[in-house]
């Protein structure tokens, strides 16, 4: 681990973190769990001039239900979300997704706020946030998930803006997230999520484009009475995924259909 030189500051409040970020400008990065940022710095693919460590901020890891919404603090670690009784009761799919992130070391450190702000197309939470119309609350505003994931690694966050919490609707009906990958601790090659909510289906896909995808064509087909198998054929509608070492674009589209079908059928 030999990164380029950087300055380091540890904030004890959101205000202080925001001030520090303002001071360093665009060359600063927020350090939360660090499980995406530090590997990039190790390879010097990221060379921030300064890191603003927000791990010292108290009360940013809350998990609570309020007004039929689930509020998850930005610093909530994956392991906390995975094991939270509140999450299991109000949005069990989120607890299950959290349990599928990385390995124990990653889950002990990684945060939901970090995943959102990093906006990796292979991230799992963004898919759930997008398909359920979650909201990302920052120190400056509230952003709807559909407006948050702009492009790969790209969000509307300003340089001094910090994610405070993610607000999900309560949904505890049938659900399933299928994360297809080579090794248990890998990123998804393709992921598919199905959640029954308010009498309809919400379907989301991971890693089939630069941002998470909400498979509205599948949702509509299901709404119109199609069987899961038929509806799932629409999972690849409009997709144009790029290929990588593990999957060709064709294979990713195929997986989107197969996994969507299975997610709907296995939802419970």
């Amino acid at each position: 681990m030999i990164p380029a030189a950087f300055e380091y500051a540890r904030a004890s409040s959101v205000e202080e973190a925001s001030k520090l970020l303002k001071k360093y400008g665009e060359d600063a990065k927020v350090l939360a769990g660090g499980h995406s940022l530090i590997p990039l710095m190790r390879l010097r693919l990221a060379q921030p001039k300064a890191l603003v460590d927000i791990n010292g901020i108290k009360d940013l890891d809350h998990i609570k239900e309020s007004g039929s919404k689930l509020h998850v603090g930005a610093l909530a670690r994956h392991v906390m979300i995975q094991n939270s009784a509140v999450v299991k009761q109000n949005l069990p799919i989120l607890a299950e997704v959290a349990g599928e992130v990385g390995d124990n070391q990653v889950r002990n450190m990684g945060t939901i706020g970090g995943v959102m702000a990093h906006a990796d197309a292979a991230g799992d939470y963004p898919t759930i946030a997008l398909m359920l119309d979650a909201e990302i609350v920052t120190n400056q505003r509230t952003i709807a998930a559909k407006d948050f994931f702009k492009d790969i690694f790209t969000t509307p966050l300003a340089p001094d803006e910090i994610v405070i919490e993610v607000v999900f609707p309560v949904a505890n009906g049938p659900h399933k997230y299928i994360k297809f990958r080579r090794r248990l601790f890998d990123w998804a090659i393709v992921g598919a999520a199905a959640q029954k909510m308010n009498g309809g289906w919400r379907i989301g896909l991971t890693n089939v484009g630069p941002t998470p995808v909400r498979a509205t064509a599948v949702e509509k087909a299901l709404h119109d009475g199609a069987k899961p198998e038929e509806a799932a054929q629409h999972a690849s509608d409009g997709l144009n995924p790029s290929g990588d070492l593990r999957a060709s674009p064709e294979y990713k589209k195929h997986l989107a259909r197969v996994l969507t079908k299975r997610a709907i059928e296995q939802a419970e």
Partner: protein
């Protein structure tokens, strides 16, 4: 000889408490006063001319002590890096390799300059300031294209890209015509990165007044490094000390010397400061030698009744840009192409091909996994054509009489192949599995059962065979046993333990031979300043069958001297003195006895036999009369999800026979690790280069897929014991067995699962995208597929 009490005992590895509690000491844990850190500037291109190197900015950077390039190293290093004959005595060309590039870089990662700085961060920062001007040349990446007459050349001044072309045994058309059924296959052995947990690393300190050099490095064979490095630097062995402390895995990639093993000591001499370099993981994937990297063309034939007639293998071996020190070792795949079976004819040819990639060199199994893969795949393909159960075809053709001389003149020392296969089939419940498979297929559930009846040559090796292969040094082994006056024992060995458990197993042998408590024996290895003058290192599953025998032999020399002393003390004739369970006594009077420790004490006193010198210690070199030949049968059970292409490994059964066993727990551990590594080749790992640019695309563990324990089922192990007649302990080797057997057990299982689709071949790794495409294509062209199967 004493009744054994420790040999065969299932005791915990004594090195583990130290290693698992963070008390291990690896190269990076060592430091010397005034140490500077070295960072290597490497070629970003697979092939380019070095037009100029501007070091101005780097030398001015904070903390920088020195920047060195070719012209500096040429002052203190001479000659080229070593290449041994191995299994190909005559090569077409051996591109001369200096540890750092001068005018041309021929693989991505080749060193072009080094920076020395006070901290590793400063060294790394400054290395980014070195401005190298390159002129890119076409990169030769593909084996087939490399052999074409119009191919660009790997080295612009080379004659072509052919490293060697050796036919061991040509075709015998008359015999081959006897075959009534013939199969053909083209099998890819993808390049693999050895990925030991500890990467490479070197720390070197030079004393100008004394002219002595001390090198700490992560090596499987410190004595060989001393031999080669001493030659390159003009330092005699008595002034060059190589210490290989705790080593976190080697898998064959830490046998041969590397550029950095030369550059770091040379930089220490040039700068007058101790110098340390620790390889990063990306450097490791890029520049540590790769394993495998071969393509096999295989043809095999049988009679309709299942009698095997011939097998023919042509190996195309991707050497890389330079020849690894033991590059041609992997040609031994040809010599074992016939596997465990009687064939009327075996033909084999090896072709070594240069490419603009990092060199390949031995990696766990080195040639034997490849041999097993090609032979066991051929057997399954023949069984398919003959409509025979693959197990029955094996049973019908197994070699059953030993010693057996194969077509290449190699002598299999002992074996009982059918017995091991039967045990494996019993554990697996083979008949029941076949029924489940048949039932499952009706419901769209695709189970596959794959078998691998493996053999191997190991225990390298007899001097007559190995001295010519290394260019002079016979791969025998040395040991020194020292008994101190109060009876404690120190054993110095020339092997190197980096996961094999020698600290435990060798004292088990000594404890039984000397009849002293196991806890009174200390094992030392890895320091060329200690023990016998030369040690040969650990690789090729040789430590026990060669090194263990050296330990046994030295222990017996000690007992022989102690017996003489005891006889003198008893005033009896030497031949009348018995030695049992650590006690000497005159035969017939077991009550009046002397403990080994008493004799040890006496050996340092007065009143020894006439002419005998004081002391109780002995050095032994053991030269084995033959190699040893372990074997076994592994069975893999997989289920293929035909929708996604995912292979679910449901069960893995391994029955192995490595002769007599010193410590069954360590044998099981070796099998577990080896099996995991072979499965990993079958399903996960693959070094990928971009064919056009020559850039490696698998430079981190995100892209180079090493599986974790999560990806494996519990392995079901069984064991038969067929002692080796080659050595007195009756032992063989087990370090590579799991890797040798397992890749093809998996692939045979995957092919078996996919046979209803008419799929006969799956390349490694059998990744889901690859399998989905095979199924997809087979279904799309099912008519065409049926034609092809006829």
């Amino acid at each position: 000889m004493a009744v054994t009490t420790m040999i065969g005992a299932k005791i915990h590895r004594r090195e583990d408490p130290r290693l698992v509690s963070g008390e291990g000491r690896y190269v990076d844990d060592f430091t010397r006063p005034g140490t500077v850190f070295l960072s290597v500037v490497r070629s970003p291109f697979a092939h380019a001319l070095v037009k100029s190197i501007d070091i101005t900015q780097a030398t001015k950077a904070p903390g920088v002590v020195a920047v060195y390039t070719y012209k500096d190293f040429a002052k203190v290093l001479s000659g080229t890096m070593p290449v041994t004959p191995s299994f190909v005595a005559e090569k077409k060309q051996i591109p001369p390799r200096f540890p750092i590039a001068e005018k041309e870089v021929v693989y991505q990662g080749e060193p072009v300059a080094v920076v020395l700085a006070e901290t590793k961060y400063q060294a790394s920062d400054a290395s980014n300031l070195i401005d190298v001007e390159y002129e890119q040349l076409p990169a030769v990446m593909d084996l087939d294209k490399a052999l074409e007459a119009k191919s660009p050349k790997v080295h612009s001044d080379g004659p072509d890209n052919l490293g060697w072309d050796l036919t061991y045994i040509p075709d015998d058309p008359a015999v081959m015509k006897e075959a009534e059924v013939v199969i053909k296959a083209r099998i890819l052995q993808q390049r693999l990165a050895p990925t030991s947990m500890e990467t490479r690393g070197v720390l070197a300190e030079y004393s100008k007044p004394d002219g002595t050099m001390t090198v700490w490095m992560s090596s499987q064979s410190p004595h060989f490094v001393r031999l080669f490095l001493g030659g390159a630097m003009g330092i005699p062995e008595n002034r060059l000390r190589v210490i290989s402390p705790d080593v976190g895995g080697g898998f064959g990639a830490k046998i041969s010397p590397y550029s950095e093993d030369w550059l770091v000591p040379a930089a220490a001499k040039l700068s007058g400061r101790p110098v340390k370099w620790i390889e990063s993981r990306t450097e490791s994937l890029l520049t540590t030698t790769h394993g495998r990297g071969q393509v096999f063309e295989v043809e095999a034939g049988a009679k309709k009744d299942g009698t095997l007639v011939f097998i023919k293998a042509t190996q195309y071996l991707d050497i890389g840009a330079y020849m690894g020190t033991f590059a041609a070792f992997q040609a031994c795949a040809c010599l074992l192409a016939g596997g465990a079976y009687n064939w009327k004819h075996v033909a084999a040819r090896t072709v070594g091909v240069l490419t603009n990639k990092v060199p390949t060199d031995p990696y766990r199994g080195a040639g034997r996994p490849e041999a097993t893969h090609l032979c066991e795949r051929a057997i399954d393909l023949l069984a398919g054509e003959l409509k025979m159960d693959p197990a029955e075809l094996r049973r019908k053709n197994f070699i059953t009489t030993f010693p057996h001389t194969n077509h290449f003149g190699l002598v299999f020392d002992s074996g009982a192949y059918e017995k091991a296969m039967d045990m494996a089939m019993g554990i697996a419940g083979y008949e029941k599995l076949r029924k489940e498979q048949e039932e499952g297929r009706k419901k769209g559930k695709y189970l596959g059962i794959g078998m691998s009846s493996w053999i191997e040559i190991c225990g390298f090796g007899p001097s007559a065979a190995t001295a010519p292969a290394t260019g002079g040094i016979a791969l025998v082994e040395s040991a020194q046993v020292r008994v101190f006056p109060t009876g404690s024992v120190a054993v110095y060995v020339g092997t190197h333990s980096h996961g094999q458990g020698h600290d435990t197993t060798f004292p088990q042998i000594v404890a039984d031979t000397l009849g002293v408590p196991y806890d009174s024996i200390e094992l030392r290895h890895g320091d060329t300043a200690e023990g016998p003058a030369f040690g040969y290192g650990t690789y090729g599953s040789r430590s026990l069958a060669v090194g263990g025998m050296a330990v046994h032999k030295a222990s017996k020399k000690v007992v022989d001297k102690a017996r003489k002393i005891a006889a003198h003390l008893f005033e009896a004739a030497e031949e009348d003195v018995a030695f049992d369970q650590g006690h000497f006594y005159v035969k017939g009077s077991p009550d009046k006895r002397k403990a080994f420790g008493e004799v040890a004490f006496a050996s340092y006193g007065a009143g020894l036999p006439e002419g005998m010198e004081q002391g109780l210690e002995a050095v032994a070199y053991y030269d084995p009369s033959n190699f040893v030949w372990p074997f076994g049968t592994h069975i893999a059970v997989v289920e293929v999800d035909t929708q996604t292409g995912h292979v679910d490994l449901k069960r893995y059964i391994a029955v192995d026979d490595c002769g007599n066993i010193i410590n069954p727990m360590i044998v099981d551990g070796q099998i577990h690790g080896g099996v995991a590594q072979g499965i990993s080749q079958a399903l996960y790992e693959e070094i990928i280069y971009d064919d056009e640019s020559g850039q490696m695309r698998t430079g981190t563990f995100t892209d180079y897929l090493v599986p974790s324990a999560n990806e494996f089922p519990v392995f079901e192990l069984g064991r038969t014991i067929t002692p080796s007649p080659t050595n007195e302990l009756g032992v063989k080797g087990i370090g590579e067995a799991g890797t040798i057997a397992s890749s093809i057990a998996i692939i045979n299982a995957v092919c078996d699962a996919l046979s209803p689709f008419g799929i006969k071949h799956v390349d490694m790794p059998a990744s889901p995208d690859r399998i989905w495409k095979l199924i997809h294509d087979a279904q799309a062209g099912s008519n065409h597929g049926k034609e092809a199967r006829k």
